[in-house]
Symmetry: C2
């Protein structure tokens, strides 16, 4: 297949299974992408990521720009050679970190100026510079430099910002030189449907190999977020991958996959793991709770990950309390496997045309009798409830 | 074979290859035992330890007594079930940690009182209590409760201490109830040959399944340490395993294996790895040094470990500088594999009767032209130089 071809293979309501072809391999969607912020998914070996079903990793342009620097990564073989993950990579544009990490000093038409959090120096990041850094890093999928406005933001700010992001997208495309990388555009517009429609329609004029839904999961209510996801997947073309950025809570994945989202990323499963929590169908277990010290069963009954196949909750709770790094490692491994299993089960249900049954079974374990309205409405809009 | 049988299979000078049979599998010596202080070798999965050639792990009675407590470990299947390492385990007696961690409050004929470093409470540890804790932990090899005096210590103190350790050994044997655990005795006497001989000869009267050389590597000069190792392995019976406690520097292993030591343990390879250093034939690389950021080669050319097969020095140096836990994990993995390879190569040389060649080749890379006198003298005493 031609690189970046995207072939939809099955549908169930608005949910779909597809294959995305990249120069470093094919990925099957819907799919969660583990985050390797500084070029490593914290504490996990690439061989273990492969074993649990990871297909594509994400790295952060902001962090790698500061350390070790893009030229060092390029000289060591790009991300594929540098970080020992020979499968596909995606890099973000750096825009989100510049703003979310609070180091932003100035934003103007040209780009942003931010303070390097390591040495205090001022660094300028522009669409051209972001693209150049991402070309040096060498990911298969690169993202256009955008502004992700805070929530809430005024309608005037959102509109000016999304229009600037569109001009930045145009500059990103002009700056692009590598044929073996796909540039995805990012839609903005906050939770305002009219602005989101404007941003999406204008972004679509660039006819890109993929589109991301940006600016969500930044503090807005779930109802507002999913109304925008619903609108976005309605506007975005069937024949292109759709990536919902920064989303990794299991219930959000189930709702968004039902609406036709294909790709997700978030530090949530690994961060919550390092902080001592396990994702399970019922929600989240805090292994710091003393009761787990006595429990003989695995983190999750029936899970096929190495942590669940090898260790008891009691042992992992001990590691967490004792401050042993292995605790966070095992929880990260399990949590990623949990999300990978969730998308594998979703793909199976989509192929069988039973995504609604899958979503209901998920909701029953996750929420019991009190399924939240936003979840039901999203699933209903996807044709599953 | 009967549990704890020890069969010497080959000799080269005083160095020997042997098999030690335990209820959880056979271990081939000489061998380095990774330390899993709190029931985990920091940051490493049991499957990876198995892959790099670990055969038996050590856990610390002191740490597990405090947290999670011996009864919890027992209820979760003993160390073999608890920690996911189904092969042989060895536990120390807790005596060394009580003293070395500086929490000792009182030592008398009955035992020691120390302050729990987690909650400040006072805890009594006696030979009987140490044995009971070790029986709950369930290791294959357990150690008699001993006192490891500081260096330097007066001759009078050393003598009184070693005599008390002998009385504690007698009490340990009386307290022992499990048939599926071997109790090793520990010789003391510091670096005083006469006291060491006394301690060794008196310990041998108990006809134990194995003997440890204790109280060394606590600050004494190498010359003094190896004179005592030489004396000890001369006095200890051929037909029993000899364990040199707390020693893990590669050059110390090569010298001690040459004198007929069979077992070693030390946190050195994993601790120095977490601190950013790699063991290589030439010594130790500090990956924090900026020059490594540009280096494309592996930590050690020719090493078969996952870290060396997958990653460049440049990447690992980046991880160390960026504070990524994967840096310490990869260095720990490599450093343990380095020591395992060292003992594997030693075993091969012993089987071929060429231990002297092996030791000379090691010394040439490690020391260049300036081979230290203690090293040459130890090898000469072992019949290899």
């Amino acid at each position: 297949m031609k690189p970046f071809a995207f072939s939809v293979e099955a549908q169930s309501g608005r949910a779909r299974v597809a294959c995305l072809f990249t120069p470093h391999g094919v990925v099957e969607t819907p799919l969660f992408m583990p985050v390797g912020t500084q070029g490593s998914v914290k504490g996990l070996l690439p061989k273990d990521l492969k074993e649990i079903g990871s297909q594509i990793l994400l790295a952060n342009t902001y962090h790698l720009l500061l350390r070790p620097g893009p030229e060092r990564v390029r000289a060591l073989g790009g991300l594929h050679g540098f970080a020992g993950w020979r499968g596909p990579w995606l890099t973000d544009s750096g825009g989100f970190q510049v703003m979310s990490l609070g180091h932003l000093r100035r934003i103007d038409e040209e780009g942003v100026v931010f303070q390097n959090h390591l040495d205090g120096s001022l660094i300028r990041l522009t669409p051209e510079r972001s693209l150049a850094v991402q070309e040096a890093l060498g990911a298969d999928i690169v993202m256009a430099f955008d502004e992700c406005p805070p929530y809430p933001a005024s309608r005037d700010y959102l509109k000016a910002s999304l229009e600037r992001t569109l001009r930045w997208l145009e500059r990103s495309l002009k700056a692009k030189t590598r044929e073996d990388q796909a540039l995805f555009g990012i839609t903005q517009g906050g939770t305002d449907p009219e602005l989101r429609r404007l941003s999406t329609e204008e972004t679509l004029r660039f006819d890109l190999p993929g589109y991301a839904i940006g600016g969500l999961a930044v503090g807005e209510p779930k109802e507002a977020m999913f109304r925008i996801v619903e609108l976005s997947t309605r506007l975005l073309p069937e024949a292109r991958p759709r990536y919902l950025m920064g989303v990794g809570h299991p219930e959000d994945l189930v709702a968004a996959m039902g609406l036709g989202v294909d790709l997700f990323d978030c530090v949530y499963p690994t961060r919550t793991g390092r902080f001592g929590s396990a994702l399970v169908p019922e929600g989240r277990l805090n292994l710091k709770n003393a009761r787990f010290l006595e429990e003989k069963g695995p983190l999750e009954e029936g899970c096929d990950c190495y942590a669940c196949q090898t260790f008891s909750r009691g042992y992992i709770a001990h590691l967490v309390r004792a401050g042993e790094m292995l605790g966070g490692i095992l929880l990260s491994l399990h949590n990623l496997r949990y999300l990978h299993r969730l998308t594998e089960e979703a793909r199976r249900a989509i192929r069988e045309g039973t995504y609604g049954d899958f979503a209901r079974a998920f909701a029953e374990r996750r929420f019991g009798k009190e399924v939240p309205r936003w979840f039901r409405e999203a699933l209903a809009a996807g044709g599953h409830w």
